[in-house]
C-alpha cells in the first residue's frame, strides 16, 4: 500500500521553485531524502505537513487527499524538524500534556517511557536541555501517538556522534513496527546508508534520482585509472568524470562495458550514498 503519493507538486518562491512530478513511498519503508543545501528537502517535508502552502499539486497520504482530510492525516503523522523549537518554559512532561490533547491515540505511558529511555529529565525546563536532549524530546512527542508516517528533517544535525548513534538506534527500533514509515532528510548520508530503503536525490527543487538504496548502489560504480585510458571516446562510459595530473576518477552505470574496455587497468569501487551524491550532483 502506498502510504504517500505526490503528483505535480509546485511551490514557488522568488528565487526557488520546488517542482516534484511524482514521488511515492510504500508502507513500512524508510526513504532518505538527500541533496545539497537549498535543494528543497525541507520545503518538501513542510509541504507534507502543510507548514508551507503549496501552489499546486496533489498530496495523498494513507490513500487520502491531504487537502480534504488534513486533521485525520496529521493525527497519524509525526514531524521532527531541524530546529527543536518547543515551549521553552515548559518541562518535557508538560509538553507531553499539551501535545496529548491533540492526538486521539496519544499514549502517555509510552511518552513517559520514551523520556526515561532517552534519559530526558521530565521536570527540567525545555530551554535548559542540551540540543541532543531537545531533539530526543521532540522525537518522543512525534512517536507517542502511534504515527504511521514520520518525517524527520535533519534530525541528527548538530548532534555529537554518540547522540547521533543513539538517535539512529531509536529510529531503527521503531522500524521493527512494519506499519511505520519514515522520510528522513539528512546531509549525513552515512546515517541513511544504515537505515534507508529508498533514496531520493533532490537538486534545485527537482528529483533527480528516486530508487531503492540497494538498486542504486548496485547500479553505480566508481572507477579510477590513468588518463591515457580515456582515449577513443571512453568518456561516454561515465555519468561524471574528474581528471587530474595523476589520472581520472569516474562514476559509471556501464560497469560491464568498463570492464570490457579497461580490464584490470582500472580500480573499481562501490560508492556509498555520500560519494554517489557528490558524484551525481
Amino acid at each position: 500500500m502506498k502510504i504517500l503519493e505526490i503528483e505535480n507538486l509546485k511551490k514557488r518562491y522568488t528565487d526557488f521553485i520546488l517542482d516534484i512530478d511524482y514521488l511515492s513511498l510504500e508502507e513500512g519503508f524508510v526513504m532518505g531524502l538527500i541533496g545539497p543545501n537549498g535543494a528543497g528537502k525541507t520545503t518538501l517535508l513542510k509541504c507534507l505537513m502543510n507548514l508551507v502552502v503549496k501552489d499546486s499539486g496533489t498530496i495523498r497520504i494513507f490513500g487520502k487527499k491531504y487537502d480534504e482530510h488534513e486533521q485525520e492525516i496529521k493525527s497519524a503523522m509525526g514531524f521532527v524538524h531541524d530546529e527543536p523549537d518547543l515551549w521553552e518554559e515548559l518541562t518535557p512532561l508538560a509538553i507531553g500534556k499539551v501535545t496529548a490533547g491533540f492526538y486521539p491515540e496519544w499514549d502517555p505511558s509510552l511518552y513517559r517511557r520514551f523520556l526515561e529511555g532517552f534519559q530526558i529529565p521530565g521536570e527540567k525546563k525545555f530551554k535548559k536541555l542540551s540540543r541532543g536532549m531537545k531533539m530526543k524530546c521532540y522525537l518522543a512527542a512525534a512517536l507517542s501517538h502511534n504515527a504511521r508516517l514520520i518525517l524527520l528533517d535533519e534530525p541528527a544535525a548538530g548532534l555529537d556522534p554518540v547522540a547521533r548513534n543513539e538517535f539512529l538506534r531509536i529510529i531503527a527500533d521503531q522500524l521493527q513496527d512494519e506499519r511505520k514509515s519514515f522520510i528522513i532528510s539528512s546531509h549525513i548520508t552515512s546515517d541513511l546508508d544504515k537505515i534507508a530503503d529508498y533514496v531520493t536525490l533532490i537538486k534545485s527543487g527537482r528529483i533527480v534520482l528516486q530508487e531503492s538504496r540497494n538498486d542504486l548502489l548496485d547500479r553505480f560504480y566508481i572507477c579510477k585509472g590513468k588518463l591515457e585510458l580515456l582515449k577513443n571516446g571512453a568518456n561516454s562510459l561515465f555519468v561524471n568524470i574528474r581528471k587530474n595530473e595523476f589520472g581520472f576518477e569516474g562514476l559509471t552505470e556501464k560497469i560491464d562495458e568498463v570492464r570490457k574496455n579497461f580490464g584490470d587497468s582500472v580500480v573499481i569501487e562501490r560508492p556509498n550514498l555520500e560519494k554517489l551524491m557528490i558524484w551525481y550532483l
Binding site: K46, L51, Q71, H81, D85, L86, V98, G101, F102
Partner: protein, 230 residues
C-alpha cells in the same frame, strides 16, 4: 473528526501558567490598590478594567509563549490552519470569561470583607463594556499572525504612548473649548457630540465599532494565516 479547539485553548493556558495566576489575581490587585488608596473610585470602572486587562495579558501571554517558533510545532499537530485561527478567537473569549469570573469572585469577596467595591458584581452595562473592550483587543491577533509577537509588542507600546498623548490633547481641547479663544475645530465638535448622546447610546456605538473591528480582525487573521509559510 472532532475539532481540537479545546486542546488549542488548553494549550494557551498551559504554556503561560504564571501569567494565568497573575491575571487571575489582577482583580484582587486592583481592588486592594483602591482599598488602600481609599479613594472613592468608580466601582464600575474597576469591574470593566480588570477582566479586559486579564484577557489582554492572557492573549499576549499565549502569543509570547509561542515566540520561539513553536507555531511550526502547533501547525504540525492535527489541526487545520483555520482551526488555529478559530482557536485563538475562542481563546480570547475564554480569557474574557476567565477575567469576568475571577474579577467577580474577588470583587464580591472585597465587597463583603472591606466594603469596597460598593456593588457586589458588575452591571449589564459593565458586561457590555467588557465585551466591547475584549473585542477591540482582537485587532492585535492578525498583526501577531503577520508580524510575530515581538513586532506587535513594539506596536502596542507605541500605540499606548500615542493613546496617552492623544488623551492629553483631547483633554486640552475639551478644557479650552469653553474659553473665548477656543481652538480645536473638529475635535471639539466631536467631543461635544459624544457628550450630547446618552451613556447607553455611547456604549452601543462603541460596541458596534468593536464588532466591526472584531469581524475585520477575524477575516484578516484567516486570510493571513491561510497564506503564511511557517
Amino acid at each position: 473528526m472532532k475539532k481540537n479547539y479545546y486542546a488549542l485553548v488548553e494549550k494557551d493556558f498551559r504554556i503561560q501558567k504564571s501569567m494565568v495566576i497573575f491575571a487571575g489575581l489582577y482583580g484582587a490587585l486592583i481592588f486592594t490598590m483602591f482599598t488602600i488608596i481609599g479613594e472613592d473610585m468608580n466601582n464600575h470602572f474597576t469591574f470593566v478594567l480588570a477582566p479586559v486587562a486579564a484577557a489582554w495579558m492572557l492573549l499576549f501571554g499565549s502569543f509570547k509563549g509561542e515566540k520561539n517558533n513553536t507555531g511550526r510545532f502547533v501547525a504540525a499537530l492535527p489541526v487545520s490552519r483555520s482551526d488555529i485561527v478559530n482557536g485563538k478567537y475562542i481563546g480570547l473569549a475564554v480569557f474574557a470569561v476567565f477575567g469576568i469570573i475571577t474579577t467577580g469572585i474577588t470583587g464580591a469577596l472585597y465587597h463583603f470583607l472591606f466594603g469596597y467595591p460598593s456593588i457586589v458584581f458588575m452591571s449589564g452595562l459593565d458586561l457590555l463594556r467588557v465585551i466591547t473592550g475584549v473585542m477591540l483587543l482582537s485587532f492585535c491577533i492578525p498583526l501577531t499572525f503577520r508580524f510575530g509577537f515581538a513586532a506587535v509588542r513594539t506596536v502596542i507600546i507605541v500605540l499606548l504612548i500615542m493613546g496617552v498623548v492623544a488623551g492629553q490633547v483631547l483633554f486640552f481641547f475639551l478644557n479650552s473649548s469653553g474659553s473665548e479663544d477656543a481652538s480645536g475645530g473638529w475635535a471639539v465638535d466631536f467631543l461635544k457630540r459624544i457628550q450630547e448622546v446618552t451613556k447607553i447610546q455611547r456604549n452601543l456605538y462603541l460596541l458596534i465599532f468593536a464588532v466591526v473591528v472584531f469581524v475585520i480582525s477575524y477575516f484578516l487573521s484567516k486570510y493571513i494565516y491561510r497564506k503564511k509559510d511557517l
